[in-house]
């Protein structure tokens, strides 16, 4: 995103286009960002860096990356606490207010046309420019498995600055030199053992120039990071005390819901709410963009009333049925629609034209909903001079911009209170539901309105992962893969999603082929081309974005080629691998499952897949049994490398969860369209995986990468192809279309 006409050797940053046409200079980029904590400080309260606030309530750590279950709040707190010398379980935590200061320097990494394994100067320079773009845009966003890469240095540095500044304050207070002071558990310790709490030092610290010349501790000195730590939110989540956006409550609050046209972009021709208006508890009917909202004194009454409204929907601006949508994709695998060709090594045409038949295959992936368990919701209170919004979101500053346009209020008067999320998987990178709530609030000024989508509305008004079609051709020699040519067509996520957030970025959209073009294999003749389909159903990022679907295509087809060559699926991948760290991951998974010479037995099969996404190489092996009732997934082995493991318990949870997410959707999930709308309206038609189907999952994390990476998404992409490859091993049936239950049953 924000990159125009990238070629391997030259680059041009399209920041002018992205930043709204305003040119900027280097000095603007280097100018320190304002500290948002300073706005609301009282006397005697200290804000040291934008991440540490100390007042009468004690120490508050600001953790601006939003938490959707991936443990973002917790790891940010531990990163700060490790240097600050506080116990994160004993301090206040706050997501803070949205601010430019909290820009995410790493959230755009996957948008650049450089493979994560590309260590060239050009690649690194462009990546560095990512910091420029995100900083200048004040891009406070959570996503892309970037919380740890973005925060690893930044937050530890902030914690250290705050610690040293507090020591300096103690030095000022006591006359003891800072170098003779130590810190422990929110106290500065004098040489004679006297303990001064951070709280009591706050008034002095507030007047003290921050000490920025700090040296971070070595991992060998860590008390928390790298060890088994308790997540800061685990007690609240285990006792029903954690409050999500949907739980927000305040005096005089009313409850609302919305029904909008399931054919996105289609209009609402008319509606008859007479029955709804007469129903118990209904306060108001409010038309909103492409739909109608109902305000009532109870969410359920709002749901019921909304169902009772007769609505005449106009058609959507895209094909009405899935069958027609497949035709559109098919028509766009064509030179005329070529978007980019990021991999073109050797010459695929010559071996493909020669001698015996090529291996050819077509792969298909459906639209997929995010369907987090907490449906979309937002609570809005609009007054004449300000608006307050409480919602779970990953994009608070984009919401601010949209709300400014919608209400005419200045940014300073728009207050977004970010809430913990009951899941997202990318759904909360969108804000349609927030804007609907604002539209309703405009009709009910002075009254807090909690707008909740019904599950049916959430399922049918998602911005799904795009459907995709791939045509694959390849050639093998005995024992080796010789040529691989992938053509992949789908809609541009950047155009659709970023177009809604701010503006469709110009230039190619790597997400069409990421996960397929950027894998660390040296296949002698290797070509991956992305073709851009027109916008159909508006789409968005789904956990692991492009790699989720393209991983299935690439690792499924590579598996086909390897089998055609008569080679071993793991050994050939290792032989082809050109990246040391990735090779070690492949070897590790082989070691974990005793791959070599191991036979599972009759009706059993084992499949392997490898995908590097968000810079994290992950190899997965899946074992299945073909039972008379269907396929049973018995066991999964996962090896990955994140550079450095900061929270081993959460890493295991994210990888396991990612595997179950990937396997479950591969088994039985899809969105199919009739009349412009998905037919899958609730979880009965979108089951994914249930507990009894969950296999044992073994995870091993290596630490050979030269930089630290995040782990929220990378566990997902290899799961579906490893499963399909295992099914092939067990049954001889090669399935190239998801969900797999179109062709095979699962127990």
């Amino acid at each position: 995103m924000g990159v125009v006409k990238i070629a391997r050797r030259t680059f041009l940053i399209g920041t002018v286009a992205v930043a709204g046409g305003v040119a900027f200079g280097y000095y603007q980029y280097r100018r320190p960002l304002p500290n948002p904590l300073l706005d609301s400080l009282g006397t005697g309260e200290a804000a040291i860096t934008p991440y540490v606030k100390i007042d009468a309530n004690g120490v508050t750590l600001i953790t601006p990356r939003a938490d959707k279950g991936q443990g973002a709040y917790s790891i940010q707190a531990y990163l700060l606490a490790e240097e600050l010398d506080v116990d994160p379980l004993n301090v206040n935590l706050s997501v803070g207010v949205p601010s430019k200061a909290y820009y995410n320097s790493r959230v755009m990494d996957e948008a650049f046309p450089f493979a994560a394994t590309d260590d060239s100067a050009v690649a690194n320079t462009v990546r560095g420019a990512g910091d420029v773009v995100t900083r200048m845009m004040g891009m406070q966003m959570t996503g892309g498995s970037s919380t740890v890469p973005d925060g690893y240095e930044k937050l530890r540095h902030a914690g250290a600055v705050a610690r040293e500044t507090l020591k300096e304050a103690a030095a000022v207070k006591t006359g003891v030199r800072r170098s003779q002071l130590t810190t422990e558990d929110a106290h500065v310790i004098l040489p004679d053992g006297t303990r001064l709490s951070y709280t009591e030092l706050a008034p002095i610290a507030a007047q003290t120039e921050p000490v920025t010349d700090v040296v971070l501790r070595e991992p060998g000195q860590w008390r928390y990071l790298g060890k088994e730590i308790q997540r800061t939110d685990i007690v609240g989540k285990s006792t029903g005390r954690e409050k999500y956006g949907i739980d927000v409550s305040m005096d005089n609050m009313l409850f609302a819901t919305v029904r909008a046209n399931p054919g996105f972009g289609g209009d609402m021709r008319g509606y008859d709410a007479s029955a709804a208006e007469a129903m118990r508890g209904v306060k108001k009917i409010v038309p909103v963009t492409s739909g109608v909202g109902v305000v009532a004194d109870n969410t359920w009454r709002a749901f019921r009333a909304a169902e009772a409204i007769e609505i005449d929907w106009g058609p959507g601006p895209y094909p009405a049925t899935s069958a027609e949508m497949w035709d559109v994709l098919d028509a766009h695998i064509d030179e005329a629609y070529q978007d980019h060709r990021n991999k073109n090594v050797g010459d695929v045409e010559t071996p493909l034209a020669r001698g015996q038949e090529a291996v050819e295959a077509e792969y298909r992936l459906p639209y997929l909903a995010h369907a987090p368990l907490e449906p979309m919701n937002a609570t809005v209170l609009l007054e004449d001079d300000r608006i307050d919004i409480w919602t779970g979101t990953q994009i608070p500053r984009f919401i601010e911009n949209h709300v400014a346009t919608l209400t005419g209020l200045a940014h300073d008067n728009i207050h977004i209170h970010v809430q913990p999320m009951g899941g997202s998987f990318g759904h909360r990178l969108e804000d349609t539901y927030v804007l609907q709530a604002v539209e309703i609030a405009k009709a009910m000024k002075g009254t807090p309105i909690k707008m909740t989508w019904s599950r049916e509305e959430d399922m049918t008004h998602d911005y799904p992962r795009p459907m995709a079609l791939a045509k694959a051709r390849g050639k093998v020699k005995p024992g080796a893969v010789e040529a691989c040519d992938l053509d992949i067509v789908c809609q541009s996520i950047a155009t659709s999603w970023f177009g809604r957030l701010k503006a469709a970025p110009p230039g190619p959209d790597q997400t069409i082929s990421t996960g397929a073009w950027d894998q660390p294999y040296d296949i002698p003749n290797y070509r991956v081309t992305g073709y851009r389909a027109p916008e159909m159903v508006p789409v968005s990022s789904w956990r692991s974005v492009a790699a989720s679907g393209n991983g299935f295509i690439h690792e499924g087809f590579l598996d086909e080629l390897i089998h055609a060559a008569g080679a071993d699926p793991l050994e050939e991948r290792i032989r082809l691998c050109n990246h040391n760290v990735s090779r070690k991951v492949l070897e590790a998974v082989g070691d974990m499952c005793s791959w070599s010479g191991f036979s599972l037995g009759e009706n059993r099969g084992r499949g392997v897949a490898f995908v590097i996404s968000f810079g994290v190489p992950v190899a997965e092996v899946v074992d299945v049994t073909d039972t008379p009732e269907g396929i049973r997934i018995d066991r999964v082995y996962v090896a990955c490398d994140v550079g450095r493991v900061l929270d081993p318990i959460n890493l295991e949870a994210q990888v396991t969860g990612g595997v179950i997410f990937g396997l479950g959707h591969a088994m039985n999930c899809e969105l199919t369209y009739e009349d412009y709308a998905p037919q899958q309206t609730n979880y009965h038609a979108y089951e994914a995986m249930r507990l009894y189907q969950a296999p044992e999952i073994e995870v091993r994390a290596l630490e050979n990468l030269d930089q630290i990476r995040g782990i929220g998404e990378p566990g997902v992409p290899p799961a579906a192809p490893a499963l399909a490859n295992a099914i092939f091993a067990a049954t001889g049936k090669r399935i190239r279309e998801l969900p797999l239950n179109k062709q095979i049953q699962f127990v």
Binding site: T681, N682, H684, A685, E687, R690, L691, Y692
Partner: protein, 215 residues
Amino acid sequence: MMLTRFLILIAFTLSATSAIAQEDAPIDPQEGLATWAKIFEIVSHPRCANCHVPEDNRPRWSGAHYGLEEGEWRYHGMNVNGGEDRFGTMTLACNACHQQENSDVPHGPPGAHVWMLAPVEMVWWQKSSGEICEQIKDPERNGGRNLEEVAEHIDHDHLVHWGWDPGPGREPAPYSRKEAVEFFRSWAAAGAPCPDVAEATQDYLEDQALPETAE
């Protein structure tokens, strides 16, 4: 040999039904069989058979609202299992989700005053007409009932009624509760003939060219 067996079969049928045969009603297997065929339509319908399941204790799902084609079925989702008590007590009770009335939300759980699987001896799932017929008459397997008590059970049991009032989106069992009770009584009056037995009778009679009814 065949004649002996034929006579034994007739004797068996007569003895099993004589206890409830109307005093003056002629034994008319044909009409009785035709009525039984209607009862079989009811009991083999998904709204009944889905919970009259064998000792795997797993309810079944079938019908278009589950996205299934005609004749297709699947196990109840979510690994739900009635257990030996047929009510799920030791794991997840049926009434955790299935309440006393049908949900009126599309795809919500159906309900009745008591929701549970039929006792395991009353298995109808994928059983033949003859097998179900024998079971329904057998006090060892029908809850210790005579046929009039079975008829009353159909007339009064709330969960049985549910078959004809299954809530939005589900196809009701054929006919109606009232008709079902009438069919049952009329079938009983006809001697409660069961198809497999009568079929054998019929075949033999055809083979032997003997009169169709016993003197």
